[in-house]
C-alpha cells in the first residue's frame, strides 16, 4: 500500500477533478432537473460510509478476540471516516429532499436509518474520546453492536415509512447516467480507502510514539 499510495492519491485527485465534467455532461433528469445531479455524490458517499462501518465493526471484533492493537487503530480510523462520509450523505440528502419532497428533512426510511447509523458511530467516537481508560474495548463493543444493528435499523425504519426513491433505480440507470454514477462510486471508494490508510497510518505512528515514550521512562 505504501508504494501505491502516491499514485493512487494522484489517481483519486484526477478522478475527482474529472467527475464534475462527467456529471455536467450527463443528461438532465426530467422531473428533478439540476438537483438530481447531487445523486452522483450522495449515493457514493453512503457506499463509502457503509464500507467504513463494516471495516470498523470487523476490525473491532478482531481486536477484541485476537487482542491485536493494530486492528483497534484501523477500527478507530474507519469509525472517523464513517462519520465523515455520513455527514456528506446527510448534507446532500436534504438538499435533494428540499426539491423533491418540499421540505429539508423528511422522516423517510433511508434518511432516518442513515441518521441512526451515523449517531451510533458518533457515539463510538465519543466513547473513544471521553470513555477514559479501557474505552478501547467499550468502543469495540459499540462498533460490533452497531454493525449488527444495521439490518435491524434498516428493517424497522423501512417498515415504519418509505418515501425514498427505491434503490432498485440504480441497476436500471440509463448508460448516460450510469457511467458517471459508477465513476463517482469508484472515486469515493478510492478516497475512502486512501483516507483510511492515511488515518490508520497516523494512529500506527502515534502508537509507535507512545511506545517510544514508554521506552524512555
Amino acid at each position: 500500500m505504501r508504494k501505491a499510495f502516491t499514485p493512487l492519491t494522484i489517481l483519486a485527485a484526477a478522478m475527482f477533478a474529472y467527475a464534475p465534467i462527467m456529471i455536467a455532461r450527463a443528461p438532465y433528469e426530467s422531473t428533478m432537473g439540476l438537483v438530481q445531479k447531487i445523486f452522483y455524490f450522495h449515493v457514493p458517499s453512503w457506499f463509502a460510509m457503509f464500507t467504513a462501518v463494516f471495516v470498523c465493526g470487523i476490525q473491532s471484533a478482531i481486536f477484541l478476540f485476537k487482542r491485536r492493537p493494530s486492528a483497534d487503530r484501523l477500527a478507530f480510523a474507519a469509525g472517523e471516516i464513517a462519520v465523515l462520509f455520513g455527514f456528506m450523505g446527510l448534507v446532500t440528502g436534504p438538499l435533494w429532499g428540499r426539491k423533491s419532497w418540499g421540505v429539508w428533512w423528511q422522516w423517510d426510511a433511508r434518511l432516518t436509518m442513515a441518521l441512526l447509523v451515523q449517531l451510533t458511530f458518533i457515539g463510538y467516537l465519543l466513547v473513544r474520546k471521553y470513555g477514559g481508560p479501557g474505552s478501547d474495548k467499550l468502543a469495540a463493543a459499540m462498533a460490533i453492536f452497531g454493525m449488527f444493528n444495521v439490518p435491524f435499523v434498516y428493517m424497522s425504519v423501512n417498515i415504519w415509512r418509505t418515501i425514498h426513491p427505491p434503490t432498485t433505480v440504480i441497476p436500471k440507470l440509463p448508460a448516460a447516467m450510469g457511467v458517471p454514477f459508477w465513476f463517482c462510486v469508484a472515486a469515493f471508494m478510492l478516497l475512502c480507502l486512501l483516507l483510511l490508510t492515511m488515518r490508520a497510518q497516523l494512529e500506527h505512528r502515534r502508537a509507535a510514539l507512545d511506545a517510544l515514550y514508554l521506552e524512555q521512562e
Binding site: 481508560p133 507512545d210 514508554l214 521512562e217
Partner: protein, 234 residues
C-alpha cells in the same frame, strides 16, 4: 480438583493503558508456602499485577503460568484456586454476613451450611451474622471479607492492601491467618505500601516501582533501608 498447581510463574508480563505503562516486563515465580510481599509506593503497579494474577486483567504481553500451564488452557476451573482480598470489600452492604457468605459459597459450588458457619465463626461474628453488613465497623467487615476470599480454600491467595483501616488487633489476626495459609501450602501474594506491616510477615519481597520489578529477594533485615531508598527515588 483438577487444575491445581503449586507454583505461579509470571513471565515477562507487561500491561499498558494507552501511554501509561502499569507493568513493564515483570518476571517472578512464587512457590507453595511462600508469602511474597509486593512492595512499592502508590501507583507502582501492584494492584495491576494482582489483577493479572487473578485473571481479571489481561496482560498486554507476556503470560502467567499456573503450575506450568497458561490461563487459556485452564479455563474457568482455574478460578476455583484463586482467592482475592482487596481494599474494596467485595461484599454487598445491603445483605447480612451470612447471606453474603452463602451467596459466594454458592458461586464456588459449595452448598454445605457448615462452610458458611465455620467462616462466620472464624470472623468472630456468629451472634451478628444476620445483621446487614452496613451496620458493621470497618474491621468487622474486613474480617468477613477475608473469610469470603478464603471460603473455597484457594491455592493462590492474593491480598491487595488488606490492612487499610484495620486496628492493630485486626491486623494481627489477618497476619496470623496469612501465616497459617502459607504453612498449609498456599501461595500468598500481598501487595502493600506499608513496610511496617509487611516486615516479619513476608518470606520474600518483590520491590516494584513505576511498573518495574526493582528487586526480588528473600526478606531480610536490610529490607527497611532498601525500601526507603526506593521510595525516595520514586
Amino acid at each position: 480438583m483438577s487444575g491445581d498447581f503449586d507454583s505461579v510463574r509470571v513471565v515477562g508480563v507487561s500491561r499498558h493503558f494507552g501511554r501509561r505503562r502499569a507493568l513493564s516486563t515483570i518476571s517472578l515465580t512464587a512457590r507453595s508456602g511462600e508469602i511474597v510481599g509486593l512492595l512499592g509506593p502508590n501507583g507502582a503497579g501492584k494492584s495491576t499485577l494482582i489483577g493479572v494474577l487473578a485473571t481479571l486483567v489481561a496482560p498486554s504481553s507476556g503470560e502467567v503460568r499456573y503450575g506450568d500451564r497458561p490461563v487459556r488452557e485452564l479455563g474457568p476451573e482455574l478460578r476455583h484456586h484463586i482467592g482475592l482480598l482487596a481494599h474494596e470489600l467485595h461484599l454487598y452492604p445491603e445483605l447480612s454476613a451470612r447471606q453474603n457468605l452463602t451467596f459466594f459459597a454458592g458461586l464456588y459450588g459449595l452448598d454445605r451450611q457448615e462452610i458458611v458457619d465455620r467462616a462466620l465463626e472464624r470472623a468472630g461474628i456468629v451472634d451478628r451474622a444476620d445483621d446487614p453488613l452496613s451496620n458493621f465497623s470497618r474491621g468487622m467487615r474486613q474480617r468477613v471479607a477475608l473469610e469470603r476470599a478464603l471460603l473455597h480454600r484457594p491455592r493462590l491467595v492474593l491480598f491487595d492492601e488488606p490492612f487499610t483501616g484495620l486496628d492493630d488487633q485486626a491486623v494481627g489476626l489477618v497476619a496470623d491467618r496469612l501465616r497459617v495459609l502459607a504453612a498449609d501450602g498456599c501461595i500468598v501474594f500481598m501487595a502493600t505500601h506499608d513496610l511496617d506491616l509487611a516486615d516479619g510477615l513476608v518470606t520474600r519481597v518483590a520491590l516494584v516501582r513505576s511498573g518495574k520489578l526493582v528487586s526480588d529477594e528473600p526478606a531480610d533485615a536490610d529490607l527497611r533501608a532498601r525500601y526507603r531508598e526506593l521510595v525516595r527515588q520514586a
